[in-house]
Symmetry: C2
Subunit: 112 residues, 2 copies
DNA sequence: CCGGGACTTGAAGAATTCTGCAATTCGCCA
DNA sequence: TGGCGAATTGCAGAATTCTTCAAGTCCCGG
């Protein structure tokens, strides 16, 4: 497998590695939305949101088009939902493990 | 949904956003491996690999344990494979779209 | 044609992340 | 016990990414 491919995969994941961008993608799962709506649901400055949207566009995870005076954004492929779902599962698995370990640590004596 | 949760999700994805770390995870899909093996398959300095492994450990995506004089690494949950698979699907969807667009651009006259 | 809302772009400084070198730890075995 | 291979840690400088502010574009209504 070529090195540039790993680069591309990494870039794909790095694109999701930001709270605002994650939130945007989750909102877009419900369908296309204008920037104006995203802005009202995410606590961030307009220019910052635009920057984050640009990152998502650059990678090709979302697409945008104009509808009258509004700019709409949409997921470029429904596969994005799978990615988010897989992320949630891992997060929950990891947190469960952590809690499990914590519980175990508390249940036994230090010398055990 | 709380803001810290988005932070946690973002951190999870950011963890995967590095070529070496992606490669490590793909290798670990086949089962636990010692650092020594990873090192022989990935072109990176030992200290760099260690740093990247530390990042993966911190997030809880992988776990490590000692086996004699070797340190072994393993995926903490098989769900990681799903994430990588979803990433691949999106990448291929995005690239296909791009190629599709390119082909379309080439097939029509500039003024069309 | 002008005003104003809806977004985007450019750019700079702050904050993070990456990389590689040197030094260190840990366990094994002669 | 001393030497070694295996890995990790501590850092410093380089490279990226984030955030914000100021300025600019586009489009609709008047």
């Amino acid at each position: 497998m070529s090195v540039p491919l790993y680069q591309a995969k990494a870039e794909m994941f790095r694109t999701l590695g930001h709270p605002v961008r994650i939130r945007v993608l989750e909102l877009l799962q419900a369908g296309p939305r204008p920037v104006r709506d995203l802005l009202s649901e995410i606590d961030v400055e307009p220019s910052n949101l635009s920057q984050q949207l640009a990152v998502l566009r650059r990678t090709g995870v979302v697409v945008s088009f104009r509808d009258g005076s509004l700019v709409m954004y949409a997921l470029s492929t429904p596969d994005v939902a799978d990615l988010l779902a897989a992320g949630r599962r891992i997060l929950s698995a990891v947190l469960t493990d952590r809690d499990g370990l914590l519980a175990e640590l508390r249940a036994h004596s230090p010398s055990e």
